[in-house]
Amino acid sequence: MADDVKTKEKTESLESLRKADDNLRLPTVPERTLFPKEIGIAPAREQTPAVGQRATRPDGRMHGLGQTKYIDDMFFPGMLHAKIKRACISHAKIKSIDVSEAEKMPGVMATLIGKEIPVNSFGPSYQDQPLLADDIVRHAGDGVAAVAAVTEQQALDALEKIKIVYEELTPVYDPMEAMKDDAVKIHNGESNVYSSKTIIKGDVEQGFKDSDFIFEKTFTTQMVEHVPMEPHASIAEWDANGRVTLHTSLGRITLGRADVSRTLDLPINRIRMIATVVGGNFGGKNEITTEPILALLSKKTGRPVKCVFTREDEFISSTTRHPFVMEYKTGMSKEGKIMARKVRLVCDGGAYCSWSETTLGKACILSAGPYNIDNLHVDAYAVYTNKTMTGAMRGFGAPQVCFAYESHMDDMAKELGIEPLEIRFMNAFNEGSTSPTGQLLEAVVVTDSLKMASERFGWKEWQK
C-alpha cells in the first residue's frame, strides 16, 4: 500500500516536471514520442526491448525549427569579424611580416602576428604547434597573421594587404622519405620520427620458420577530412576586468581551457569557456584553433571578436585522419592457422603531433586484428611531414589497420583456397583469449556475431 502511494507521488511529480518542461517549449507542443514505460530487465546477452525502439532526440525539435543557436547564429553588440591569413607555402622560414598596410584598410580595428602571443605553442601530447607561425611555416595551412575588422569582407580584403617575406625550405611530403636519416628535419630535432611503439609476443622468426606459407603485402590509406557541416567557430570577449569569455564550438572545453590559459599566460580561473551546440565534431573539434588569437584581438580592440572558418580554412588548416603505410607479413599453416605476424606501421602525422601519439598507440594495439596469434611483432612510428596535420577522428587509428588486416586476411584465404569466413572462424578470438598486449578477454562473441551477421545478410547467397 505504502509503495503504491510512493509510486503515485513519483509519477505525479514526474508528470508535473514534464509539463513544466513542455510549457517552456515553443512554438506548439505536439505529443511526445516516449519509450514504453515498462521496459523490464532482460537476462544477460538477450536483446533488451529498447533495441529496435524509435527514440527521439531531446534537441531534435529545436534543430527542426531552426532555433538552435550555433556560434555563427550569435551576435554581440559591436562584434568584430576576424580572418586568418594562411601561409599557402608548405615549408619556409618567415623573414618578415608587415601588417601596416592592412591596418590602414577601412574597417580594420586590429591585427595580430605570432610574436604577440604570450606562449605561442600548444598540443595535447607535445606542445609543438604554434597558434600563428612566427618563425617557421611547416604546412600550407599554418596561420601567419590575423585581422579583426567590422565586416567579414573588410577582414578578407585586409588579408590581401599583409606582406610576408619567406625563405623557402625543402619540404618533405612522403612519410617514408621523412623517416630517412638524411631527410630535412621539420622540427629541428634529430629525427622526424617523434613517437614509436613496439609490441613483441612470442618468437616471430621461429613462427615464420614453422609456417607453410608466408604472405607479404603493403597497404596504404589516405588523409580524410572530417568536414563537419558547421565550420570551426568561436567568439571571444576580453572584458575590462581582465576576464576572457569564449563561446566556442570546441568539443573538449576543459582541455581547451587549459590550452587557452597556457597560451595567453593567464590564470585558468580568468577564462570562461561556453560550449554551444556543435554542428558536427567527429573528433575534429577537440583542440583549440583560433580561440587565443580572438581573445588577444578582443583585448586589443575592446570588442567581442568572432571568427568562423571558411570551408577552405577547414580543409587546409584543421586536423584530418592519419594516412598510414602498413606493411604486413604473415606466416600461415596449410590448414589456415596464423602462425606468426610481423607488422610495421608508419603514421604520417603531418606538420604537428596533435593526437598522433594516441592514435599510433591504438593502431598498434589493434593492428594484429581480433585473431589469436602466438608470435607477433609490431613496430609503429609517427612521422612529421610538411602536410596538413592529423589528429583525432572517429576510430583513432583503428579503421586504417582494420582495412589492412582484413584485406590481408581475404588475400590469404583466396591463395589458400579457404572460405573467407572459415579462415576467420579458425583464427578469431574466443572466450579467454589474450590480446596482443596481454589483456585477458571476456565475453568474446566474434564468431557468434560473424555467424549471425552472415546468415542475416545472406553471405552464402552473395557468394554465388
Binding site: M229, P231, F282
Partner: protein
C-alpha cells in the same frame, strides 16, 4: 549600399546592404533569420537552402539584389505558435537530425519537393535531397522522415523498393 525589399515568410522586409551581399547574409545578419546556415559558401552543402518563389535555392549563391521583390520562405516560417509543421514533426519523431546543422536546409528542400504535389518514389526523394549534405546520419533517417512527412501531408504511400535492386 543598396536598399532591398523582399517578402520573408509573408512579411515585407527592407534592408540596406552592400552590393556584394548574398541573400543568405542579408537574411542572417540584416533580418535576423539565422535558421538558414552557412556551411560552405560555395553552393555544395545546401545548409543555406531557402525557398524563393517556391523553388529551393542555395541562398549563399544568390545575391540579395537578385531576390528583390521575391517571396522568400525560411525555416522560421513553417511553424506557428498554434501549428507544428508536419515535416518538422516527422523529422523530430524519426530523429532525422543529429547535430542539426543541415536540418533547416533539408526541411526546406523537402518542402519544395512535397509542394510540387507529384507522386514520389524513394529515388525522387534522394534526387531532391542530393544538394543537401549531412555528415552525421548517413541519410537513412532523413529519407524516412521525408517519407513520413509526405505520407502525412498527401495521404499517399511511397512504394517500398528492394534496396538490393537499387
Amino acid at each position: 549600399m543598396t536598399d532591398i525589399t523582399l517578402t520573408v515568410n509573408g512579411e515585407e522586409k527592407t534592408a540596406s546592404v552592400p552590393p556584394e551581399t548574398t541573400l543568405l547574409k542579408m537574411l542572417r545578419e540584416d533580418l535576423n533569420y539565422t535558421g538558414a546556415k552557412l556551411g560552405c559558401d560555395v553552393g555544395d552543402c545546401g545548409a543555406c537552402t531557402v525557398l524563393v518563389d517556391g523553388i529551393a535555392v542555395n541562398a549563399c549563391l544568390m545575391l540579395a539584389g537578385q531576390a528583390e521583390g521575391k517571396n522568400i520562405e525560411t525555416i522560421e516560417g513553417l511553424s506557428t505558435l498554434e501549428e507544428y509543421h508536419p515535416i518538422q514533426k516527422a523529422f523530430e519523431d524519426v530523429a532525422s537530425l543529429q547535430c542539426g546543422f543541415c536540418g533547416p536546409g533539408m526541411i526546406m528542400s523537402t518542402k519544395a519537393l512535397i509542394d510540387q504535389g507529384e507522386e514520389l518514389t524513394r529515388d525522387d526523394i534522394k534526387d531532391a535531397l542530393s544538394g543537401n549534405l549531412c555528415r552525421c546520419t548517413g541519410y537513412t533517417k532523413i529519407i524516412e522522415g521525408v517519407i513520413d512527412a509526405y505520407e502525412e501531408i498527401t495521404g499517399k504511400k511511397v512504394p517500398e523498393t528492394n534496396p538490393r535492386a537499387a
